[in-house]
Amino acid sequence: MSRNAKLILLLLVLVGAACAAFVLLRPAGEGTVARITLDGKLVEEIDLSAVTEPYTFTVEGPGGFTNTIEVEPGRIRVREAGCPDQVCVNQGYISDGTVPIVCLPNKLVIEITGGGDSLDAATG
């Protein structure tokens, strides 16, 4: 193998390992506040630890689609979406800051501020 190839292979392994280590070893977060933003503007802030009864509400984004958001004690998800791809619905519940729920067509982001420790929460 040439020098270039070895260098690129080494870089790839390092970057891949760094990302995997980051995902696996990141510290558990305390965050419980869900921030819902539409088109970069904050529309709702919900403290999930203070929620006792599940409820749903609907938001309409600049894309003209609606997202029905379901809030439960400690977790949140998009229950229905008017967009064709349904990526946000398939993602299910999130309960920590590991990854946000993103609806690209509707420019909706639901993120939980704080950190998270496992992917299990995202896969719900």
């Binding site: 990302c19 995997a20 995902v23 970069g40 990526v87 990854v99 420019k107 995202a122």
Partner: protein, 171 residues
């Protein structure tokens, strides 16, 4: 290294054929259920054609095939909104392939594709961050990078084997 470029009808036919193959792979893959709950993780099998074209036909023709596939893929899958993300990822990985083409040989394509895969994911996330006006989407990067490396390794090996077989057929 690269065979002399085909001209006229021969080139047009080859480009059209490769675009049709890439588009078919893309649309079939789009019908598969998502691999994981993290959005954006997929094999990206259509990139086999992009990588193959980059090393066999050259960067210009690879770009033509890529643009045609990305645009028609969005049209035929009925998701025009994904166009900006596919285009951002595709163009960034094309730029990276352009550079890698000078650094690596035809026998090391399997190594190019993972790098291109990582930059494809990076481009998509940057486009998403721009559209959504938030950096929150970059939280996906640590998941998408290893996934992009693995997916790229797979498509790169496919392109490598494909090229070894096609070289036997002659130009």
């Amino acid at each position: 290294m690269t065979p002399p470029p085909a001209k006229g009808a021969r080139r047009l036919t080859r480009l059209a054929l490769l675009t049709a193959i890439a588009l078919t792979i893309f649309l079939v893959e789009a019908q598969l259920p998502p691999l994981t709950a993290v959005p954006g993780i997929k094999l990206g099998l259509a990139n086999i054609v992009t990588v193959y074209a980059m090393f066999t036909l050259g960067p210009g023709d690879a770009l033509l095939i890529l643009c045609a596939r990305v645009f028609l893929g969005a049209v035929f899958s009925g998701q025009m909104m994904t166009l900006i993300y596919s285009a951002a990822g595709g163009l960034l990985s094309w730029c990276v392939l352009l550079l890698l083409r000078r650094l690596l040989t035809r026998e090391q394509i399997w190594l190019c594709s993972p790098v291109a895969g990582v930059f494809h994911n990076l481009g998509q996330l940057l486009a998403a961050a721009g559209v959504m006006k938030t950096w929150a989407v970059l939280a996906y990067l640590p998941y998408l990078v290893p996934a992009g490396i693995l997916a790229g390794l797979f498509t790169g090996l496919c392109a490598q084997f494909l090229m070894a077989r096609l070289d036997k057929l002659g130009p």
